[in-house]
Each structure stands twice: as structure tokens, then as C-alpha cells.
């Protein structure tokens, strides 16, 4: 039996979606994590809560609000229409945006924890050695927080691969555009195609196991090397 044409299309789309989302999350999530790790602003609590919201919110709730917001009459929809992009629901980029929001805490929190663990001192030391802010970030923060960045990437990627509720709300089920593995799996089950469903479900199971195995075996050693005193 094996994967059908549509299954392979869904797997490819899922990988493309998860990779795009992971890259965007690192770009967007890192400054947020940096700010949360170092600020003493009164906004820290509210912002941290908003970032963490997808952890506790049912995905369909988030998907529903995003669908409204990105729809023709929603604020994001109005903006995208004015920019000439059209509206985002039921497109690949609509899925990307929804996934970025949905997976944000899985990326922000490990990076934030890693930056907090570094503390102030290495940055002060680097400053006394003439390293400017960007220099300090790339030569001190990134190497010292590397385990956090790796964990964040793996969790962000894996979590995007596994999402269902948000995707169904925002993306629907358009082959090649928004039909990702989890939705395809749901279709198979709905159509009583259990054999096909087994292949996809097994693949997702194996993938998730390998991701966690990689996380737990490769990186605990890297995270041990903390700042020496």
C-alpha cells in the first residue's frame, strides 16, 4: 500500500509549512524572548501571558478568532486587502501566520529561559571587552544559549507538524495548498480508509518519537556548560 499521491503532497506541504514557520518563529520569537528575559517593564506580565496563551487555549478558539480577524471584514483582512494581498484564510500564508502565533510559546520560552540562565555578567564582561550590543548578541548570547535555540527550533517545528484545529479553521482542506498531514489523516478516517490512515498516523508517531529522542539524547550535555564562576 504505502503513501498515496495526495498523502505525499500533504507530507511535503507539512514539511514546507513547518520549516517556514520555524524560521519565522526564530526571527520573531528571539527578540520577544530577549525582551521578556531582560525587561523589568510592567508590560512583561501581560506580554508573557499573551505569548503563552496558545498553550492553554483550545486551538479551535484561536483558529476561530484568527479566521474572523483575517476574513474580509476583520482588521487583518482589511489591511491585507488594502495592501493588495487579498485575504489570507484558506491560503498557505494564512496557515503560516496562524501557525506562527500558535507555536510561539514553544519557541519563545526555551530561548527566554536560556537567556535568563546566562545572566547579566557575561554581557557586562563582553561590553568591557569592547563588544557592542549586536556583537555581544552573536558572540556571547547565541553560543551560550545554543541549547535553548535548538530546543526552540525542534519544538516549534514539531508542534507545527502536529497541529490540527487551527489548520482546519484557517486553512480548510485544499490539496497542495492547505491540506497538511493531520487534516489528510482526518479525511482518511472519515472515509474509513484505515489502511491509509495507519501509514500517516504511524509516520507522525515515528517522527514525534525521533524528535523527542534527539532532544533528550543530543542536547542535555550541551546545556550543562553554564557560565563558570
Amino acid at each position: 500500500m504505502g503513501f498515496s499521491e495526495a498523502d505525499l503532497g500533504a507530507i511535503w506541504l507539512t514539511l514546507r509549512l513547518a520549516s517556514t514557520v520555524t524560521v519565522l518563529l526564530l526571527l520573531v520569537g528571539t527578540p520577544i524572548a530577549w525582551w521578556l528575559a531582560r525587561t523589568s517593564s510592567k508590560w512583561k506580565g501581560p506580554i508573557a501571558a499573551i505569548v503563552a496563551l496558545p498553550l492553554v487555549l483550545p486551538p479551535v478558539v484561536l483558529g476561530f478568532y484568527l479566521l474572523i480577524a483575517m476574513g474580509p471584514n476583520g482588521p487583518i483582512g482589511q489591511l491585507t486587502q488594502n495592501l493588495g494581498i487579498g485575504i489570507l484564510p484558506f491560503t498557505f500564508w494564512g496557515l503560516v501566520i496562524a501557525s506562527v502565533i500558535y507555536s510561539m510559546p514553544f519557541v519563545v520560552q526555551p530561548i527566554q529561559n536560556a537567556i535568563e540562565a546566562i545572566g547579566e555578567r557575561p554581557l557586562e564582561v563582553a561590553a568591557t571587552l569592547s563588544a557592542g550590543p549586536l556583537d555581544r548578541f552573536f558572540t556571547v548570547v547565541v553560543p551560550l544559549a545554543k541549547p535553548g535555540f535548538i530546543t526552540a527550533s525542534i519544538l516549534g517545528f514539531a508542534h507545527t507538524v502536529g497541529e490540527f484545529g487551527v489548520v482546519l479553521m484557517i486553512g480548510g482542506n485544499i490539496p497542495g495548498k492547505t491540506q497538511v498531514v493531520s487534516v489528510q489523516l482526518y479525511d482518511h478516517v472519515e472515509a474509513l480508509q484505515y489502511g491509509q490512515a495507519h501509514w500517516l498516523a504511524g509516520a507522525l508517531m515515528l517522527f514525534s518519537f525521533l524528535v523527542l529522542l534527539a532532544l533528550y539524547t543530543l542536547f542535555p550535555s550541551a546545556s550543562k556548560r553554564t557560565f563558570s564562576t
Binding site: E124, V125, T128, S130, A131, G132, L144, T226, S228
Partner: protein, 363 residues
């Protein structure tokens, strides 16, 4: 770098638990020790000079170059300074060599020093870290890490080196070891150093200039010998009160393992540590080891007896004791004697008497 008051510091800032309020002019050469009890603002002063903390009101200039005034505040990474923290602060993801290279790569951004600064080889050999270069910080001992950190601070080619109790976290043998490296550094390099310490041993050995702080204010600031010879300091040094004299080895008595050193005012016998004749040494005479006599005694075990004149008398923190400053030639010694002896011998300012020194330490 030899202008007498090259470093001008004026900070005024209120912190939750104390207020830093000081105005200092410090020499642009040698080691200036900043001494004071904990909580006196020593570290805060150093951090403000480094720009790691921003005082509410501050003016700071080094050799006429303004680092901070009413309108400007140079960020830390633009200040040509080296900073040695109390605990070794090496980057754990870099080897010792990588840590040194981190500084060297960025040293070019600084205004380079007229003498071309310190080379990698010079810094490595000065601190004796040749064999440690490939190691990572977690493979080094505390003392080794601190030596690498000092070499790293030198390699940035600083115009000013700030050291915040660099030996405080080390045990006694490691302290001695690093002290001799620092002593070497003082003799070989022409970088002004601000050295925060609460150890009078370190200060007696290293410092040229001494600033005493208390509760964020300057108690006194002046050449080391002058400050230590004062008997009226509001901050008393207790058992550590005593003077430091610059001297030169003039003779060695191999039979008794003694060396004779000459200072401006007289000569002293000290234990011979194998220092060559002609070398310049520092000797420390603690006030508690100095006694006073109205007549010269020949029937005493004390080897060092000098003639002097009483210059000042002040009470000690201990109600039983007094501090007496005696001039011997151009030098000053301080004796710590009991109030009762002072009364019984009727010692007063201007008296000529004999100074007996029980113990002299080469530092």
C-alpha cells in the same frame, strides 16, 4: 600618562540603600587602591567608571578625554578600559586562548596606546599561562582562570585597568601567586590601575596611591605612604595600621640570614629572602610592632632601634591605645602604644625619642 591628576571622577547618585557622592582626582600612572569596608561603594564606583552603571550626576574624564559629563555618556564598549571582575568571568564556550582572542580582535577598535600596547606573547608570559591556552574555563582552577582573565583585560590595550577585588575569591597560596604576577605587571606596564580591595596586605604590596571610602564618600585620597602614616583617619585599620616604606637592599648578612635595607631616614634589618643587593623593596612596619623608649637600650633583643621625633598623637579606636606618628628623617612611622605608657612616659609632640621596631616585613 604621567600627568599627576589624569583621572577626574565626580559622581553623585542615590541608590535605594546608600548614596554615592564623591569627587576624586587620581594619578594617571601606577596602582590606585580603593579601600573601604563592605558597602562603602567601592564596587559601585568601579562600575560607574566602567559605564556598567549610570550615576544620576556624573563627570568622568581620563587624560582630558570625556567619558561622561552632563550631556554625554559613553557606553561601556566604547570606553578603552579593561575590567577584572571579582570572580573569574571567562566565557565558558571559549578556550583560554579563545577568551584572549576575543579581546585581541576588539582591541583594534580602541584608541591604540602610544607604546603599541601589550602583545599576546607579553601578556601570556607575564601571567604565566602558556600551558593553559588550550584549556576551557571549567578545566582551570580558580587562580588560573583569574590569571587568564587578567591577561584578557590587558590584551584589550586599556587606557585604564579596573580590578574589583580580583583575589577575593581565591585561597591564600593562589593569592600570593597572583600578587607576584600583579607586582610584575605594575613594574613592567604603564597602565593606570584602579584596584578595589579590602585587604591591607594587597594594598601595602601593590598600591602607589590610596583612596579610602566610607558610605559612598571619600575619607581620604593620597600617596600610599602619606595616607598610611596618618594617625587621624576616621577609618581605623586596627591591627593592620602601619606604614609602608620604599627601601633599597644595601647589605646582606649571610651568617644571620638578615638583610639591611636603607630608606630615606635610616636603615633597617629585615629577614633575608634572597633579594639581591641594590634591589628596590617595600617594607611594611605595623604600628603594633613599634614601641617607643626615652633612652637607647643596648640590652634588648630588638635589632632595629632608630632615633625620631614625635609629630602627632591621636587616640586609637581601642580605648586603651594611642597612635603616635614619629618622623625619622624624611619618613614617618606609626607606633601603637597604650594610653598608660603615653601618660607615664609623658610623651608629647616634638619629643625626641627612640623607636624600637620588633618586626619588619618585606612586601
Amino acid at each position: 600618562m604621567n600627568t599627576p591628576n589624569a583621572i577626574k571622577v565626580c559622581f553623585k547618585t542615590q541608590y535605594p540603600n546608600f548614596c554615592l557622592d564623591l569627587n576624586l582626582e587620581l594619578p594617571g600612572t601606577g596602582i590606585t587602591a580603593i579601600f573601604g569596608p563592605s558597602g562603602s561603594g567601592k564596587t559601585t564606583l568601579l562600575r560607574c567608571i566602567a559605564g556598567l552603571q549610570k550615576p544620576q550626576h556624573g563627570e568622568l574624564s581620563i587624560e582630558g578625554e570625556i567619558w561622561q559629563d552632563k550631556n554625554s555618556f559613553l557606553p561601556t564598549h566604547k570606553r578603552p578600559l579593561g575590567y577584572v571582575f571579582q570572580e573569574a568571568s571567562l566565557f565558558p564556550h571559549l578556550s583560554a586562548k579563545g577568551n584572549l582572542q576575543f579581546a585581541m580582535k576588539r582591541a583594534g577598535k580602541q584608541l591604540s596606546r602610544k607604546d603599541g600596547g601589550v602583545s599576546f606573547d607579553q601578556a601570556v608570559s607575564l601571567l604565566g599561562i602558556e600551558s593553559l591556552l588550550e584549556q576551557y574555563p571549567d578545566q582551570l582552577s580558580g587562580g588560573e582562570r583569574q590569571r587568564v582573565a587578567i591577561a584578557r583585560a590587558l590584551l584589550i590595550n586599556p587606557r585604564l585597568l579596573l580590578m574589583d577585588e580580583p583575589l577575593a575569591a581565591l585561597d591564600q597560596p593562589r593569592k600570593q601567586e597572583i600578587l607576584s604576577y600583579l607586582d610584575q605587571l605594575r613594574k613592567e606596564l604603564d597602565i593606570p590601575v584602579l584596584y578595589v580591595s579590602h585587604s591591607t596586605d594587597e594594598i601595602a604590596r601593590l598600591a602607589n596611591h590610596l583612596v579610602i571610602l566610607e558610605k559612598g564618600r571619600v575619607v581620604t585620597s593620597g600617596p600610599l605612604q602619606d595616607v598610611l602614616a596618618r594617625v587621624d583617619l576616621p577609618v581605623q585599620l586596627g591591627e593592620d595600621a602601619g606604614v609602608v616604606l620604599e627601601a633599597k637592599v644595601v647589605d646582606r648578612d649571610t651568617r644571620w640570614h638578615l638583610a639591611r635595607v636603607a630608606f630615606s631616614g635610616g636603615e633597617l634589618w629585615v629577614r633575608d629572602h634572597g633579594v639581591a643587593i641594590g634591589s628596590h623593596v617595600r617594607v611594611r612596619v605595623l604600628a603594633r610592632d613599634v614601641s617607643l623608649a626615652l633612652q637607647a637600650h643596648s640590652d634588648t633583643s630588638i635589632q632595629n632601634v632608630l632615633a625620631g621625633t614625635v609629630a602627632k598623637i591621636a587616640p586609637d579606636t581601642d580605648p586603651a591605645a594611642s597612635l603616635v606618628q614619629v618622623t625619622i628623617g624624611e619618613s614617618k612611622l606609626v607606633a601603637r602604644i597604650t594610653q598608660r605608657s603615653l601618660e607615664q612616659l609623658k610623651i608629647s609632640v616634638g619629643d625626641a625619642l627612640w623607636v624600637q621596631i620588633k618586626s619588619v616585613a618585606l612586601v
